[in-house]
Symmetry: C2
């Protein structure tokens, strides 16, 4: 079951995973297909079943900066759909033909309202995930500073 491999759902019981499964839509996309663009309103997020999806950002509209490629089963993206102001913070394009699970915010919010423990678990997992990404991004920034610092010392 793909859902149990999705970090957002870590710690949820089988019965809760089943309830979420009932809301999921499966989608097949072709290489080169755009799922969303940075800045778009975000009403759904995705998890990978197979294939590959690339996430990137644009620097001044003239330079594409890759952020990551998702290849792992259960790899999740578009999670800005769960956090105000509900706006995608990256762009997403299919890198290899892929099967996806599509989750709508509306459904997750409804389930969370009905079952607060479920909502709480998802939000705790999301906070953990975002903190990890923040640390990674800070590390990238540090590496840049380090390179810059070293170049001024030689």
């Amino acid at each position: 079951m793909v859902l149990s491999s999705i970090f957002l759902f870590n710690g949820l019981s089988e019965s809760r995973l089943k309830i979420i499964t009932d809301t999921v839509k499966e989608t097949r996309i072709k290489k080169g297909h755009w799922l969303f663009h940075e800045g778009d309103g975000a009403d759904r997020f995705y998890a990978l079943k197979n294939g590959a999806v690339e996430l990137f950002t644009r620097v001044d509209n003239d330079l594409e900066l890759p952020v990551t490629i998702i290849r792992k089963v259960g790899g999740c993206f578009g999670i800005s759909a769960l956090v105000p102001p509900y706006q995608y913070s990256l762009s997403s394009r299919c890198a290899e033909d892929a099967d996806l699970l599509e989750f709508r915010r509306e459904d997750i919010e409804k389930l969370s309202a009905e079952d607060q423990a479920l909502g709480c678990t998802i939000m705790t997992n999301l906070a953990q995930y975002l903190l990890e990404r923040l640390k990674e991004t800070r590390q990238d920034l540090k590496n840049h500073f380090k390179a810059l610092f070293q170049s001024t010392q030689t």
Copy 2:
């Protein structure tokens, strides 16, 4: 009341804020005092009442990289205490004599277990905060790439 100006508690009722207030410890610290170091186990977070606290990271132990200075009443730091693996991701030093509110993870976890709506609200606010920090840090990284890109074009 300082608690209502803390982003983590946005949306909580007065009665819930009162319950949290009862767990808080007030602390006065002097300029130059260290609150915690990057990598330390994180069991408490802080909110500023007055004064200033600096957050920074170290690059290879030989270069101190400032991340931010907190001066705003209710400004919060050390929130890695709420997210596994409960390890501070930055260091914190008092920049100007300060009065702080100190929140222990243990207390917040206890209150969240007793009142899941409270826990859910805190975690949702935390996820929103972390996503904002992630976007800012990505923007810093983009600015570096942009500068680097431009320097190779001239």
